[in-house]
Amino acid sequence: MNRRNFIKKLGTATAAAMVLPYILPTGRLFAATGSQLAPHVVFVMFAGGVRQQESVLQRYLADSQQFSSEGNIMSNMLNGAAPALKVAYGTDPGVGPRGSIPIPPILGQTLQSQGLLFPELRATTAGHYSGYNTLLTGNTGTTQGLRQKPIYPTIFEYLRRHAGTPASKVWFVGNTIGNSLPLLNYSDHADYGVAYGANFLAPNLTFGSSGITHLSNAKVYHPEEEMAPMLQMKYFLNNSYNSGGGVILPNIGNTDAEKQEIKDFVRDTFSKVQTNQVAFPPINDNGDLRNVGFACEVIRRFRPTLTVVNLSSVDGCHSNFTGYLRSLHRADHAVGYLWNFIQTQVPDMAGETVILVSPEHGRNLNPNPILDENDWAAYDHSDANSLRTFSLMAGKGVPSNLIRGSEANPLGSSMDHVLTMAEILGIKSQVQMSGLLAPGTQSLFDRI
C-alpha cells in the first residue's frame, strides 16, 4: 500500500467511525445529549376532574356539603389526618354505614413527604379530552377537536423521536376506550405522528369478558415452521402492493420481535386473569384500580421508559358525590399501590423511577341540583374553580418534602408536565427547540 492510499483509507475509516455509532436503530442520527435525572417515568393522569377542596385542601365535606367535617382522604399521596365525621369514602363494613372503613395507606411515607408538591397549579381547560391533551402535549387544548388526534406532538413522540426509544418502551395504559382516549398515543403533527407513537392498551376491555371470548384463544404458531414463512409471504405481498403504488400503512413501529413479546404478554395476562394472578391492588372494586393492576403487569414485563396511566372514576361526581369521594380515595390507593409495586416488585425500576401525578382539571365551586344517597350535592366542571388543580412528583432526583406555590400564590401550569418529563428523561432541549410547546411553558423543576 502506498502512502496516498494509506492516508485515503485512514481518512475514510476515521469518518465512518465518527458517524456510524450515532445512527440509532430507530433511524435517529444522534443520541440524546441532555443529562437524565432518571431512566423511567410513570405519569398518572389522576383524571376525571378532581376538586381542589376535597383533595389538596383536605376540606372533605366542609366546602361542598355545608357539613363541618374536614380531613385528608388521600393518605398515600398527601400528609394530613383523615376526617373524623361522616366517613363514607372507604369500604363497606359487614354491619354499619356504607363506606365507613377507610382503606389503610400502602406507603409508609406519603408521596408529598418523598417529593415535590405544587398544590395550586392552573389547568388550561375544563374539558376532559382537551385536559388530557394539555397534560400530554404541553400545549393548550383550546383548538383541539374531540374525536381528533392531538394537534401537537405528545410526550410519547418527543421521547421516541429525540431519544430513539423503542415502541415497546413507551406505554399508555387507559382505563377505557371512551373520551377519545385511544387517540392520545400519537398526534397528527407532520414532524412526529404515528411512527413515534406509544403502545396504547385499555386492559379493562382487552382482558375483560369480550376479550376472553375473542382474544384469549389465540393459536400459537411455530416460530420457524409457521411464523417465518408467514412473514416471508406477507413481506412479498407488501412489496408487491407498495411497488404497485400502494399506500403506506400507519404503523407505530413495533418490530416483529416487539410484537411477539406483546402477544406473549397478552397470552400470559389472560392466563393470569383466569387464575386470579393479576397484580391488582388489595382493594380493586372499580375500573381505576383494576387498570392500575394491569399497568403494573405492563411495567413488570416491559420496564418502560415512559408509562402513562389514566384514571377517571372520579368523574361520577356529575351525579354522585359519595361515589366521587370513594373514587378519589381509591385513586389514591391506586397511586400508592403503583409506586410501592415499582419499588418492591420491579428491581430494574426501583430507585430509578420518577412518578408524577396530576389531574387534567378540577371541578366547579358550586354544585348542580343532583343529590345522592346521602343527600350530598354533585359537581360538574366548567367554572374558574375547575381550572384549579395540583401536581405531585417523587422519585429519583426529585427534592423531598418540598411545596411550591399556595392557594394565594398559584404556581405552574398543567402544560408544564411535558417539559418536566422531558427534563427527567434527558430530552428537554430538543423538546424546547421543537417550538411546539405553548409560550410560557416551563419544566416544574424550573419553578422551584
Binding site: I177, G211, L215, M233, F236, Y241, G244, G245, K259
Partner: protein, 165 residues
C-alpha cells in the same frame, strides 16, 4: 443515327418497366400508442375501518356474516390495542383456532397450487394475481413443503393490501 422499330419498342418497354418500378418512398413509423398503465392494486387507497376489516375478514374465513353484537365487541377490542396490526394478528389467530373456519386442506392446495393461489387472491384481495405473483407463490409453496393453506391465509389477512379498499 437510325433507330429501328424494335429498338424503339424495347426502349419504350424498358422505360415503362423502370418507371413503374421506381416508387416514391412511403415513410412508415412503427410506434406504441401511449396507454395509461396502473398497477392492479393502485385503486386500493382507502384504509378499512376496524368494523370493515373485521366484517370482511370474518366473511372471508367463515363464508358467512358476523353478528352485530360480535362486530361491536371485536371492534371495541381492536380499539383497546394501540398497534392495530398487532390487534389484527391476535384477532386473526383467534379466528383461525375455531373449528368452523373454512380453509382448503393441505392435499387440496398441493393438488392444484395455481388454482389455490388464484382463489386466495380473489378471496382476500379481490383480484387475479399477476404472473410474477403466481409464479412466486407457486415456487414458495412447492419448495416449502410444510407451508399450509392456513399460513397462506394468515399472510393474506395481515398484508397491507388487505387493509385497504
Amino acid at each position: 443515327m437510325r433507330i429501328s422499330a424494335s429498338q424503339l419498342l424495347f426502349a419504350t418497354l424498358l422505360f415503362l418497366v423502370l418507371g413503374s418500378a421506381c416508387r416514391r418512398d412511403e415513410y412508415l413509423i412503427y410506434d406504441v400508442d401511449p396507454i395509461g398503465v396502473t398497477g392492479l392494486n393502485t385503486g386500493k387507497n382507502k384504509l378499512k375501518t376496524n368494523s370493515q376489516y373485521i366484517s370482511i375478514l370474518y366473511a372471508n374465513l367463515f363464508q358467512k356474516a358476523l353478528s352485530a353484537n360480535q362486530l361491536v365487541e371485536i371492534n371495541n377490542l381492536i380499539e383497546s390495542i394501540g398497534d392495530k396490526q398487532l390487534a389484527h394478528e391476535i384477532i386473526v389467530s383467534n379466528l383461525m383456532n375455531r373449528n368452523d373456519v373454512r380453509i382448503p386442506s393441505m392435499q387440496e392446495m398441493r393438488a392444484d397450487v395455481d388454482g389455490f393461489i388464484n382463489e386466495t387472491y380473489k378471496r382476500f384481495l379481490v383480484r387475479e394475481p399477476t404472473e410474477s405473483e403466481r409464479s412466486w407463490f407457486r415456487n414458495f409453496i412447492q419448495t416449502n413443503t410444510f407451508v399450509s393453506p392456513e399460513i397462506v391465509y394468515l399472510s393474506f389477512a395481515l398484508c397491507d393490501e388487505y387493509q385497504f379498499y
